[in-house]
């Protein structure tokens, strides 16, 4: 009898279930554990208290990204707490034998940028990290999700996790994206449709012709914000685009092992006839550049749209909308385009990769940012930084009046000194517009690199399609070719 058709998620899940006692969650084997300085210290302390070692240091990788300054790395770290946390991760990695990409490492960067860059992230894997944007790695057809510090300790101690099997949620996106519309707009549109709790209890699988047409970096942008739709993980089936990206990367299999791995990966996509617990379909052709107006990533509208009025939403949601608009200082019914800005942030694990920087640079090349506006460009990793510099993008940004920084999470989470001041408005390519997320009292509009860069020129929220250079580009000319960026 033929086996029951299975989804991509089910194949990875089934393979990694070590055992499950009646009534207990499954023990799920973890292939790769990514560690950073902010959520891990208490887990290492726990290990020490139990007298345990890291069970599989060779399946563990650490970096420093969240609290690390993006200024001149030769300067001492001004924030004593951050400095202590950064010393702590280095000491923990040394003590427990974990490879650490720290300050000064040419391959340091945001954990979700360097995993793929180094070829550590591979299809079919289970990947965890004490960071909710671990879903990023799902772009490779890996089951990747964020965990808490107790779970970090569990993985360090056992290389497994106790997990209940989540449900599956297909996000089918067909059609061609219009000029000026990209991966960030897809995911913001999805979250606006289903809400920030819409995927709770589920893992997304993104399918459809619009997803297939995306580059790996664009797929990472989509998967990255799965958690903003409530899903711990979001996957995209591996294909030739995936294999082309991975081939030749440092930790990717080589030679005969590569061929064997690709053969294994080709069996991962969801079987014909497999079913999902839920499905939503989105028409890519109808999408427009998206901007958020509120205090969570689900409060997004088209850049041509108007800020909702209280009467536009369900009675039960009115108080929250009123609160959000009061925090944001925005008038219901006004156009989102034209809202004034103080800061533009281009970077983060969502949009800090080379293609994002190329997209932003394509808008800023030969132009100047609006007077009085602060524009911060922060590459996602040191490798991205060097690649951008080799292409002259740093000069484009600096000539336009933007700041060019070392890599890190930076103003996405505002732990390292890069932050909005109280009351300031920022348009940001990052993933969260929660109150205070980018600095206490700061007010965030989330958008794509193109929209952020177009807004940098004007100093107000701007539809990138109003620029001739964007409107004339039917394809993503900033995509990497297979030969670059290894």
């Amino acid at each position: 009898m033929a086996e029951k058709p299975r989804t991509l998620f089910e194949k990875i899940w089934d393979e990694h279930v070590v055992s499950s006692d009646p009534g207990a969650p499954a023990i799920l084997a973890i292939d790769l554990h990514l560690v950073h300085e902010v959520t891990s210290p208490q887990a290492f302390t726990g290990l020490r208290e139990r007298g345990l070692k890291v069970r599989k240091p060779g399946q563990t990788v650490a970096t420093a990204d969240h609290s690390i300054p993006t200024l001149d790395p030769s300067l001492p770290i001004a924030d004593e707490l951050a400095a202590r946390q950064l010393r702590q991760i280095e000491e923990n990695c040394r003590e427990f034998g974990i490879p650490f990409y720290g300050k000064g490492s040419p391959t340091r960067g945001i954990v979700h940028v360097i995993g793929p860059e180094l070829g550590l992230t591979q299809p079919g894997m289970t990947i965890v990290c004490g960071d909710s944007h671990t879903a990023t790695h799902g772009a490779f057809g890996a089951l990747a999700f964020g965990i808490g510090t107790s779970e970090i300790e569990m993985v360090l101690a056992t290389q497994t996790l106790l997990q209940r099997k989540p449900k599956t949620f297909q996000v089918q996106i067909d059609g061609l994206l219009g000029p000026g519309v990209g991966a960030k707009d897809i995911i913001l549109a999805l979250i606006a449709r289903i809400g920030i709790g819409g995927g709770t209890g589920h893992v997304f699988e993104y399918t459809g012709t619009a997803i297939r047409a995306l580059s790996m970096e664009e797929r990472m942008t989509v998967c990255n914000m799965s958690i903003e739709g409530g899903a711990r993980a979001g996957l995209i089936a591996p294909d030739e685009t995936t294999f082309e990206y991975l081939k030749g990367r440092k930790f990717a299999p080589q030679g005969a092992a590569w061929d064997a791995a690709v053969a294994r990966w080709r069996a991962l996509p969801t079987d014909e006839g497999a079913t999902y617990d839920r499905t939503i379909t989105i028409d890519a052709e109808a999408l427009e550049p998206m901007v958020t107006y509120g205090n969570n990533p689900g409060m997004g509208i088209s850049v041509t749209g108007r800020i909702p009025s209280l009467t536009d939403v369900e009675p039960a949601a009115r108080a929250d909308l009123e609160h959000a608009l009061a925090y944001m200082g925005l008038q219901p019914g006004r156009s989102i385009a034209g809202q004034k800005l103080d800061v533009v942030f281009i970077g983060s694990c969502t949009n800090g990769r080379i293609e994002d920087l190329r997209a932003a640079a394509s808008v800023l090349r030969g132009r100047r940012v609006a007077p009085g506006l602060r524009v911060l460009v922060v590459p996602g990793s040191q490798q991205v930084k060097r690649q951008a510099e080799s292409e002259g993008l740093d000069s484009v940004f600096q000539a336009a009046g933007a700041e060019w920084r070392e890599s890190g999470c930076s103003m996405c989470i505002a732990m390292n000194g890069d932050q909005l001041e109280p009351g300031q408005y920022g348009i940001s390519t990052s993933n969260r517009n929660f109150e205070g997320r980018q600095g206490k009292g700061g007010r965030t509009f989330l958008a794509s690199p193109l929209t952020a860069a177009a807004s940098a020129l004007t100093g107000v929220v701007t539809d990138p399609r109003t620029l001739d250079s964007v409107a004339a580009q039917p394809v993503a000319v900033w995509r990497s070719s297979a030969m670059e960026a290894h």
Binding site: G58, D320, F434, G436
Partner: protein, 209 residues
Amino acid sequence: MPEPFAKTTSRVISIPRANIDTDQICPARFLKITDKAGLADALFFDWRFTPDGKRRKPPSFIDERRNAGRQILLVGDNFGAGSSREHAPWALRAWGIRAIVSTSFADIFKGNALKNALLPIVVSPERHAGLVALVAAHPDGEWTVDLEAGQVKLPGGESFLFEIDPFARTMILAGTDEIGYVRSRLPAIEAWEAAHPARVDSREGIAAR
């Protein structure tokens, strides 16, 4: 190691807002610690203090004198959205919260809460509306959350049942944690690993320290 937890009786703090994210529960700038100290003070910090550090007037619910010592939160839908920071349940526990009642919880927060013996109690929207009205009418009424019985007793004698993941429930009642349980299954883990060689060796090409 956690202490066993079975039951608490307390008055309730009601925050009717939905989608309360972990950046509100514990702002990111309080995540620079390397231990768990001081997190009670970080709880809902930006709701309690203005950006220039002054206590808000009127004070936030958490600073209202009558709410001191209350152990049960009644909150809107999708509590704990956003970041995976376990500092959020640590801060809630450090302040004294033992149970949170909502129509739903974000997945990562819920898992983190259970690992810290902080009970995420899910109720239907109808029940939730009734509870919000009850607290509005009886702000100082005491509720008893009984994990053993899976029951919340309300002032006036009414009660309702709730479900907690049965495995987590056992762990919380016994005050044990999961690492010991999983380590007792190490032979099965080793057998799995023997059949599934590691996909990567992150130490490859890195000089021995």
